[in-house]
Subunit: 447 residues, 2 copies
């Protein structure tokens, strides 16, 4: 065996602090999403010891999660070990663990049985799906926020086709091949388009008894139009494109119940379905509760102009967990670029405080644009006054997403996967994984 010395320093009281002789200010960042990673990077040269805590060992590129859920990409193509992402940053320690609370007076974060001391704390804990008070719908209508959500939805989606192939009862088969997406923001629109493509392009030749093209894809939205964050002309372009792909768009339709066999709506009555995906609402993770700060309706912490918690200048909340107004007075949206900007801002602010240089001006969000892809050849893009649709929009969308992926390898692999799918109409990651058994033929009531 190797006799290489253990690079370990004597453990501190917390058992988890970075190894350093001098007592430097300790920065704890909770969450390794876009905000947390950017905050950590912005502290690379600061004289601090940074600890980045996340319950997963990977950073996930959430904007492409829907492609994992629809079998186009593999999880490892859009997720990277956090340790690798920040390996070249010697003042940083990564801990895979679930943070459970904060003692703001004692300046400690609870992580399992440990209490992690901090001098500065950045909470970048993100958001999760909101069922608007109906958490009992969660098992029937999973959301899409994590890698495991995506592989769960992928399994449900592919199993619905497998079960339909077995099914003798016509009505039950029609139910199995009905896919409902609740919520028509970018995630809902992208999911609906991708599921329609799976059914119409990737699968038809593979089944003998069913015609996968007869699958019904319903996009249900409570508001008056899809993609409400985009201008009306782009929204109606997207609606036309989706309709051309066979997606049924049901706007001004409110879901009033979800169960194992479909949804109830106020306006369109009962819709039986094989798979229901929830893309309707998000609620912040409980970061605000941990430190007792005031919240908005979505559970986001109301932070100051420097993203710190009122009365606690050493605690910052960034990303989807924070509610802060942009320069135009509107709230900063819960998107990746916003989280990154907040992370970078807080990293620089802490670095400035530690080195006692001038603090940066209050946080100012720069909106870089809105985009959503609809299918194989269409996307809508809005950058300031600049708009793109159709094939050109789709190319722009693809290049932008590849540019923001981490690492040359992943950029190359994702670009290749897309190119291949484009040429062949195939989906490379059509695996039903997980220990759940195969479909039970004849027992059509299995969820």
């Amino acid at each position: 065996m190797s006799a290489a010395p253990n690079r370990d320093s004597p453990p501190r009281e917390s058992g988890v602090a970075a190894g350093s002789g001098v007592a430097r200010p300790r920065v704890v960042i909770v969450g390794g999403g876009f905000g947390g990673i950017e905050a950590a990077r912005a502290l690379a040269r600061a004289p601090v010891d940074v600890t980045l805590v996340d319950r997963h060992n990977y950073h996930c590129f959430q904007p492409l999660l829907y492609q994992v859920a629809t079998a186009a990409l593999s999880p490892a193509e859009i997720a990277w070990p956090i340790r690798s992402v920040v390996r070249r940053q010697p003042n940083l320690t990564v801990l895979m663990a679930t943070a459970t609370g904060v003692d703001a007076d004692a300046r400690r974060v609870f992580v399992g049985e440990h209490a992690l001391p901090y001098d500065y704390l950045a909470l970048a804990t993100g958001a999760t799906h909101s069922y608007f008070g109906h958490d009992e719908w969660a098992p029937f209508a999973p959301g899409l926020k994590q890698i495991d959500d995506a592989t769960d939805i992928r399994r449900k989606l592919l199993l619905a086709f497998e079960r339909a192939e077995w099914e003798d009862d016509e009505a039950e088969r029609r139910r199995l091949l009905t896919f409902i997406i609740v919520g028509a923001g970018p995630t809902g629109v992208e999911l609906a388009g991708a599921i329609a493509e799976v059914a119409r392009q990737a699968l038809p030749a593979d089944f003998r008894r069913i015609d996968a093209r007869m699958a019904r894809v319903c996009l249900i939205e409570a508001g008056p139009r899809i993609l409400p964050s985009l201008p009306e002309n782009l929204s109606s372009y997207a609606a036309r494109s989706l309709a051309a792909m066979g997606v049924e768009i049901m706007t001004a339709t409110r879901v009033t119940d979800c169960d194992a066999r479909g949804v109830e709506t106020e306006q369109a009555g009962r819709i039986d379905a094989g798979v229901v995906v929830w893309a309707a609402g998000v609620v912040s993770s409980p970061a605000a509760q941990w430190i007792g700060v005031e919240k908005d309706r979505a559970g986001r912490a109301l932070v100051g102009p420097d993203l710190s918690v009122p009365g606690r200048p050493e605690i910052f909340i960034i990303g989807d967990a924070a509610a802060v107004a942009g320069s135009d007075g509107r709230m900063v949206p819960g998107v990746a670029p916003a989280a990154k900007q907040m992370g970078r801002y807080v990293g620089r602010l802490v670095a400035a405080r530690v080195s006692k240089t001038a603090a940066p001006a209050p946080f100012c969000y720069r909106h870089s644009g809105d985009l959503a892809t609809i299918g194989r050849k269409a996307a809508v893009v809005k950058l300031g006054r600049f708009q793109l649709t159709g094939f050109v929009g789709w190319l722009f969308w693809g290049v932008a997403h590849i540019y923001f992926l981490i690492g040359i390898r992943n950029r190359f692999v994702v670009a290749f996967s897309w190119f291949w799918s484009y040429l062949t109409y195939q989906r490379a990651a059509r695996l039903i994984t997980g220990r759940e058994g195969p479909p039970a033929p004849g027992r059509s009531s299995s969820a």
Copy 2:
């Protein structure tokens, strides 16, 4: 929605037969591994209706499973939907379902609540790990036969490093960073080499408190030498290469107990470990039991020279589930080329019987060679009298495996992944997935 007609034929009594007007002989193949797929392909032009049943929706390239378990490849890179593999074969229906038994007198296979009638039956149900009568060891020492096994082992392996990074107790940390592989056949040797590479090359720069290079990798083998199916000179070359990579090889060592914290051995006493992987023995799936045929010690069905079951000329057993002697009198080994040859033979035999042409000569196994890779630049290869070791052997191993992968896309992606790992020493699929929580810091007893 599309008004495309449903290509469905009226369901037969079984509910699952392929749609065809004329009553053609029905062939049921159970198992979509190497044997089952080849049997199905060999029947592509025969006037039969083939039903291929597998409990997974994918065919898995088992020889590279260890690379999924050690985070080098993603599951989708070595597994393909069975439906896609055989999509161009119109006489074939694929069913994702678990076969549970056979009524040989009534000529029916039980699949869930269905009874699938057949005129010819090929059982290609493969093998699973054998704990030599100690099935209670299974949760502590998982084997590597399926995609979900590989992602489970990957999770355990990566979590061991994450837990060790938290751990303050020196002895416990040493335990967590000890990896035991039981069984030194090709799978055990390849796993040991790959785990040593993960610890020594991919991870060291990513951890702060532990030195991943201090991980201990033990390869335990009850027999006198590793790779017993290869000649002694190749076996000792492999042992030297593994030792140079820091693998401790313990031959003539018998495991007498396994628990959540390590193994007991007869010769070397107790060895505490963070992860134990079982690569020691295989036992056939219960195909022989289903039809009451005589079995050998490994549970394999003793079949006739045409691979049919004695007294049941319409039932064939192929691949790892069958015990048949080769022309040299030795039993045909449980390897992929043997399963493929048996599958092809049975497919052709059934085609000949159906079209009443001359039946082929008895099955004759052609051994194509033995190979095992040891690490980044070494492999052992034996093809007849021809032997290769070292870098040249490794290149041969790589080219051979890429050649046998299904589909141009996967060949390209795997070749690229290997090339990239070779250049960078990195592993692309280092994700801890699954719903199991992160390591519980402080509670080191968690398995």
